[in-house]
Symmetry: C2
Subunit: 403 residues, 2 copies
Amino acid sequence: MDNKIKIGLFGFGVVGQGIYKVLQNAKNAHAEISKICVRSLNKPRSVEAPAELFTTSAAEVLDDPQINLIVEVIDDAAASYKIVTEALRRGIPVVSGNKAMIARNLPELIELQKKYNVALLYDASSCGSIPVIRNLEEYYDNDLLLEVKGILNGSSNYILSRVFDHGEDYASALGRAQQLGFAESDPTFDIEGYDSLFKLIIITMHALGVYVAPEKIFTYGISTIHDSDIRYAREKRVKIKLVAQVAKVAPDKFTMFVMPEFVGPRKYIYSVDDEYNGVVIRGECYDRQFMFGKGAGSLPTASSILSDIMARRHDYRYEYKKMHYLDRPSYTTDITLRVYVRYKDTPIPELLPFSKIHEQYTSDESCFVIGDISLSQLMEHRQDINATDVFLANTMSFFQNLD
Amino acid sequence: MDNKIKIGLFGFGVVGQGIYKVLQNAKNAHAEISKICVRSLNKPRSVEAPAELFTTSAAEVLDDPQINLIVEVIDDAAASYKIVTEALRRGIPVVSGNKAMIARNLPELIELQKKYNVALLYDASSCGSIPVIRNLEEYYDNDLLLEVKGILNGSSNYILSRVFDHGEDYASALGRAQQLGFAESDPTFDIEGYDSLFKLIIITMHALGVYVAPEKIFTYGISTIHDSDIRYAREKRVKIKLVAQVAKVAPDKFTMFVMPEFVGPRKYIYSVDDEYNGVVIRGECYDRQFMFGKGAGSLPTASSILSDIMARRHDYRYEYKKMHYLDRPSYTTDITLRVYVRYKDTPIPELLPFSKIHEQYTSDESCFVIGDISLSQLMEHRQDINATDVFLANTMSFFQNLD
């Protein structure tokens, strides 16, 4: 790699403009943007950049022999896939923030990195400014890891915060999140848990060395949350958080899912509010570590991208060390969870095969049941619990009283 | 480096025994302990290791051609210096946990690493299991850093926690900390702030690329804390924490010090209790990151040492990148702090040249003053404020309302 990093930037939205600003402040980065590829040259933008930097031709950027790093921060997973794989095939290193594209194509992207001996970095794709991937890859690179659990999506957390701490209603909280630029262009991505899911898949690869495809993972969001759920949580003095987790459930097994959870005040993630992200990393010896920082927004994400850009100065690559470990644990959904399911017309207690029911409440307005059920059964009955009158939340932690 | 890491371990106290246990659990570490050098072979130890591993001869370990990594976790800074520098001169990489030795000799240790092209890793020396050094070196390796501030000493924090949250008296809290193995053999090291100071020096080197010698840094501990201070803090609904910080106070200036601080409930470090450490890293773009984890104890420190051992498998070295930055900021003590000083017989308001006094309280029992004074003046009057009837605490943050 050349002494100076010359960046071909794809995308000049919220994050792309943030990168432009951050690079102007980072004098020691020895990095500059040589070209910016955008869909439309005429879109009004709040950050001014010289007109000659812009192009609408991806080829013009990829063909430029001066450019030695592609930074891709576009919002479209299909276009991102095309750009990133094409750059890797040409041996140009890439920094990408597109978690959906990365999570869906991780095995292929790892192969391409190996085959073309080229780096793809994507720390910014998970938890914005918190260096989760890098730490899992480099620092927690041993057998002692038990669990990674956290709030990985800033916009859904912002919405829940507004609802819980400020008494706002769900719709206006969502509107405000979009206005502030926290929510992606398609809000269902954040709200239905997919953004958290994609991050979780990436985290799991670096935590345990195992890839699990999105469709195999139970994912449940917050869009059907209802006043009665909020009231119930408040009565119990807990908050509802959208939590993603991967946990060892036996020495050779792990599970993972994304689901709202009732979180009590003693847990670290209880106090992760607004657009912040928080991740608890638990290990056999170090007990738990908690990392906390801004998970959304232009500059936090941009500064994370900057860290990836800087890492390229030192030829840093992910080595995916844990993929080569002996006795990698295997993925299971054969675990029992204790869940709260609120419903009205959908006859949840008849539909879901609870192995044990602990609480049941019925009223004209809304009903709920708290019971034990396996994760695989929840997945089989996804249709039932996806009804608009149903909301589900996890009520248990694998490591009770400890996070 | 050989495919398998063969460790010459110096020290088999609390941390050394922890490393031995942790390595037995970490099957993918490909690391084993080949020899253990101890002062006495006959000391009873809670962890059993084969007798043939032990020796009292440092030369026997350093001369062993099989050994390709020295791990040094002894409690004696002078002996640690001898072993570490000798190993580096022989080109043997070293992992060390001795913050006092490292902080005092960092410029020489950096030179030795360069001269003999050999690595010295010491992530375990700062904040036990929290990967602060590695993240400052690798992830926050740009110009955007504004402040690193935190609770870096587990035992003094444990003591303050017992006093504040459990109403214990200071002496019994100290005794309990020592009993639990949190406090070093010489408790003044923890309590008077030196342990935090040494960690802060190491952190500053990796945060800003500048070395500041211990004697140039204002350091004040908690040994003279008094019921009246605790009462005062409780009335104000704050906790007293022993806080170390390095902060940019101008684009080209930074300051650093270790001092008790009144910490309000809105600050992250307020909820860092017991033997935990917590570090806030603040940057221009990412706002703040908070890292939190166990900062003391056998296994947390040992697992941090394990991360350094594993890093050697990938030939990882600190590159001290920021030492080579343009426009490194320079150290200043020419800043104004607002401090609380409690006293009885020492006539503090006469002795200390406050530029402004904001509050003053006198009684037969104890008096205090809250006033503005420069850090350099505090250093000049160190003798006065070190009197046994005096306790000092910082009442301000550089980044108000934000951490």
